[in-house]
Amino acid sequence: MSFREKSAWISVLSMSGIYGFYFWSVIHSRSKGGGFHFGGLLGTIIALVVLQVVLTVAVAIFSPREAKAPRDERDKLIELRAMRVAYAGLATSVALACFFGAFNPPIVFNTNALLFILVTAEIMRSACQIVQYRRGE
């Protein structure tokens, strides 16, 4: 497994876990009447960055040669394809948000819903990279 694929796995697992916990907390706090907490989001982002840095450094320690190697043409192509898939998902979600916003009364997407769309697109991007690396394309 290449360093780039390991990085994609780190991204998918850490984002799924940490943002999954964040959105689970948001849903539970909302059922109790709680609103949007910037502190909760900030803590989530810090936890995500710390976890990703620690895991990436750990992987780099065990395979230093691969970690130092620059991205080659196949890595860049895989990134571009994954970005295209993620962009399609993001654009579709934003278009749907605009569609629902045109209702009367409008269904307005709040901050957490928009964050969910962004996080999902990012997870899609990394997942798409993993699929391509697994298929050996």
């Binding site: 290449s2 043409e73 196949r74 050996g136 394309e137």
Partner: protein, 70 residues
């Protein structure tokens, strides 16, 4: 649809059992990419194809072949 086949595996063997990693380092690609090229799962750029051919000292058409399956 056409497919690109190559002789990289054989040429590596003929060049002192060169490993995929050694070839990858000579042409600035990763070992995984060399493996994908060798298995025909990834078609390299023209520049990479020329670099691979240069490593083995062979013309491009001796290393890569295109077959139209249609």
């Amino acid at each position: 649809m056409g497919a690109i086949h190559n002789e990289i595996r054989r040429l590596r063997f003929e060049h002192g059992e060169m490993t995929q990693q050694q070839l990858a380092e000579k042409i600035n690609l990763t070992r995984q990419t060399v493996n994908a090229i060798e298995q025909g799962k990834y078609s390299p750029s023209l520049e990479a194809a020329f670099r691979i051919s240069a490593v083995f000292g062979k013309p491009l058409e001796s290393v890569f072949h295109y077959s139209n399956d249609e």
